[in-house]
Symmetry: D2
Subunit: 355 residues, 4 copies
């Protein structure tokens, strides 16, 4: 009956994130597939990262991910004076911890060479130690023998390509011919490489987007400028390790960073359509009709290039309902390009709003 | 192909809230009803508030509300030397603005007297000027004549009840007898009055929760301590002005502030059940089963008083999936009290988790 | 002795901003002058603003300002059907309120015409109603008669200058000749006009930076992208109304927005030097010396164009101590350009770090 | 001259924290001493912590600390199957890294036993491996032989003292008699033990406040509820390792967490006086005088128990200027208790405001 009651109650309600709790990220499934949220590039103290492997799993849950790979370098292990080399250590430490938290941990490693061929992650392997070979070709072969998905990492990394532009060297061409490159990073941390879209399209392989985190995720991506770390969204038949693997080899991915989505149109269009819904007009006057567009996703969409007599641009804020006022001179649907959904090296998704 | 591309793109993506855009608040409907999010107590410059009436509408959209009432005082108008008295001004200024934004604006006023009877809002009126009477009883009668819903405001306000405890004076008893009190504020800004639950139960009237804002909503409730302003959730047959009114007279409300929900069990239980879903065990070992509870709402639920061999407490964080580890000695369902869902002056909602 | 003690204590410590409390903004004085933090362009409900005049004073204190002007339009008063015209109302309502809070309120108005001449604020006036003239020239003359400081507002505003570039029309030239333009806005809300620096230099008048706020300051500048609203920093002999006026007519101003500072070198250089201090080397090894630079201001400085063998760029974060590692081949001082301190239309401040 | 100029400039200004950069924490020195900000209790992967030792140093700089100790457990090393035992590893890895960043790293370890005697940190040691003894008394003796400062950790930790109340067991009394306890934790993470103040006073030893962090500092203390981790403020003759050590053995400490400061009055009073300054009245009317109190520190002070005719409470917000309005009936100074500055188990600092 007194104020004190609420005081005590409210104090007790203060809430801290608990290991095992997973944030819900609002990125929808698409018809026929579940959307698995992934990060396939990160480091622990077993190479040049700053944290114990289980920290990567806790971070992934906090970020709402479903699957990750800890990809410690085979060739760069600056802590080896303090920690004995064990290329499978992160996997062994993380496997049970991930299972108890319903997170898919993909067994993986990073083959780390100068350009060419640069750095490659081998995902879905059995034993990283067998991939530690002097010859990089031998390393690739050993990975392939284990059924690995080979991901070319940050192909335009300025430390290796000073102009920032990825290039297909002979070895890459030979690998592609062999079917040994299954994905290429379009996003790596805050770098990105538009040309990768073209490489992936031509070779029918998967676009990848990953954090390549060495430090602490929540310190690196904490500013409001970043909503999230870079992610690979995989469109899988179900949420399982094997289904994830099947989808990746089939190239069914979309990459996501900072409100930017990049995918083939066949994935980008249904994804957008699952994010938004358009209502019937709720009001009209002599000149205009008023309707609402609901965006249930965490992505803000920036519509541009509206037709005559309709708004030139519309911002569909994440998790918001946006009112659109449109002249009665215009007939439904409105058409727009989505500035932040890229369906090619230089192409934007085209959409319709039917009201 | 260059970095610059992303730089320009990302700069262009910076996003500012636009008038007419409504945040999605994750508070579910319950079976048979839609949940209308409301605030029925606020002030503009037409009494002692700081802002133009349309600001209250923009604030409401930003907070994801569906319906509001601007309730300027009839008897306290400190700006009248600068602004001519017009008890319907906020309504007249706001009506069209709200309609164009798909917000329900309820025509209203505040009858403002010393205790007893204290302050009352008259909601769903036609003309506030006709309610400005010398005698408070006459004012009530004039409001009732307009079909008003009479809400007793902050009945334990310390300026009027120094001990903070609401009291039923004779005039209140007479009003209740006449059916002239239709709701009482349980939450008013950061005050609350548990005894109101008992008053409302005994008289079968509506629990109300409102901001009573005079300044700027986003400055008052900006700290992370407050997720939201106090709200009245109304369970209506559809989202419309008339349906809202019917539901309020029928007493179908729940009040919400700072992760605390207060309602009769008949509303609290289905509401909780719409917020959460319990998965099948995803993992087990010799001792324990592991399952997940998904909370798709913006409310964090604090479960307490778990049975033997189960977690004593579980925190179901808002918009998160929480892992629960439970001994194989225990059989489903687990039972809990929900600390922050109150179904009586001193009662907590009791729930089950079936896995 | 129990935990409860701290619980109660800590609850009681929750803190809300109180009217009259002023944030300390870390922007130093310069030798010989105090730095008065100002915003000379804002609106209330007395023209097309959303708030009661006193809200502008509370907002100013919250932002750590020392002086403001409420500059309601003479010619654009869309609320006049609801509020009687009174061009001095904001001043009359605010004067005492400001005085009791130690804030300098400058009596002012906005002369609002199409381009040319565009919009002008008349600051330091006695009676706005005498400036409401049909002819703009008459209005200017009436303002000058009152001793006004005439500020040309947003000279490149896209609604009036579609290419965004300020132009000196005949009327501006005549005004300049008469000494009737005393300052020009370089920053107005999120617009800015580099060419204004040249205009001000040529005519020896004051650079101005203001918010031109119509809505709510804390909603407009809340994102982390903005640390603060645009401000005019005035270098005055003391913190008083008359000293402020003297300094403005003398052109002793600097404008500040989003970590960008713009001023003549004679103000920018001592300002920078008051913000930072350089320590002696605290460590050295065979190759390098290590020293610290302390930045006690709220401005992050971005140093670029370092000399050979020294860091090419250094970021001196606001309110932080930055370590600098420099080769022993280099001798003190290091020289840099400060990217975000502009001393001309296209010039950057040049500074030295002596360690 | 175009808008684009600012766009590019501003993009380039986005700022990320850089290793080596130290936040300035506004906690003043006191007359005769510099205030060294410290955390003497934290863990790395070398016991049960989650991070590589250098992360603790980066975190300390980000939090504005001057000195830390990494205190891995001697007896609890759950990662020893993966990482070879080396009780001095964190020290060896961190020593050079700290030196190059101007941070004082104190060589230390944690002696970890059940209660009694519980857990003790040995600070300022030479070789942790020599302290790893079967008998806890032998361990203490070995630490003392190295000149260690022995800190009793979390003496009321609920895992060891279910009622949360610290108790002096025989072994503690013997240690005190020998002069073998030099400090006791009053704050440990979010626990605190008021009785510790009495223990420290009676034995003339140092109050200690530390994080005992195992995970990531910025994740644990990120909510706005916490401004900072728990800290020990040491009043030293100069900022150096040896001066720090001398001050701690002399008991010149204050502990700080969540706006709460705890110290003997001889330190608390001058500290408060360095934080605040009181101005002369800037305004008066018939009834009241108005003056300002400037609080240049990061601590908000809560003044209570004001004298008659003066404000009963005053909140001096951190980094703010607070206006005080006081009746002319009252003569300066006003007297207050400071609710959040504790000078004994149950005592509050008493202060005066002279205007």
């Amino acid at each position: 009956m007194k104020r004190q009651f609420l005081i005590v109650l409210i104090f007790a309600l203060s809430f801290a994130f608990v290991s095992g709790q997973r944030k819900i990220v609002n990125l929808p499934d698409i018809p026929g597939y579940v959307t698995i949220k992934c990060d396939f590039h990160m480091h622990s103290i077993y190479s040049d990262g700053d944290v114990w492997p289980t920290v990567r799993i806790d971070e992934a849950l906090r970020d709402g991910l479903d699957a990750i790979a800890i990809t410690d370098h085979l060739e760069y292990t600056p802590k080896k004076d303090y920690i004995p080399l064990d290329f499978n250590a992160a996997w062994k430490i993380g496997e049970g911890y991930a299972k108890e938290r319903n997170l898919i941990l993909v067994h993986a490693t990073e083959i780390t060479r100068k350009m060419p061929p640069g750095h490659f992650n081998a995902l879905f392997i059995n034993d990283a130690s067998l991939i530690a070979k002097d010859s990089v070709w031998d390393a690739f072969e050993a990975a392939i023998k284990q059924g690995a998905f080979l991901q070319w990492n940050h192909p335009g990394w300025k430390s290796q390509e000073p102009d920032g532009i990825p290039k297909l060297y002979d070895i890459h061409k030979r690998m592609l011919k062999n079917g040994w490159i299954h994905g290429i990073e379009y996003f790596n941390d805050s770098e990105y490489y538009p040309l990768v879209f073209t490489f992936c399209k031509q070779n029918n392989i998967a676009l990848m987007g990953n954090s390549d985190v060495h430090g602490i995720i929540s310190e690196i991506y904490k500013s409001s400028e970043y909503k999230n770390r870079p992610m690979t969204l995989v469109f899988a038949k179900e949420k399982s390790h094997d289904s994830l693997k099947e989808a990746m080899f089939a190239g069914r991915t979309m990459v996501y960073f900072k409100d930017i989505l990049v995918a083939k149109e066949e994935y980008a269009k249904p994804f957008f359509n699952q994010c938004i819904s358009v209502g019937k007009p709720f009001f009209q006057n002599d000149k205009n009709r008023y309707f609402e567009v609901t965006n249930n996703s965490d992505v803000t969409f920036y519509l541009i290039n509206g037709i005559a007599n309709s708004p030139a641009t519309i911002t569909l804020a994440a998790n918001s309902v946006t009112r659109v006022v449109v002249s009665k001179k215009v007939t439904s649907p409105l058409t727009y390009d989505v500035k932040n959904v890229l369906t090619g090296e230089k192409d934007n998704l085209k959409i319709e709003l039917k009201y």
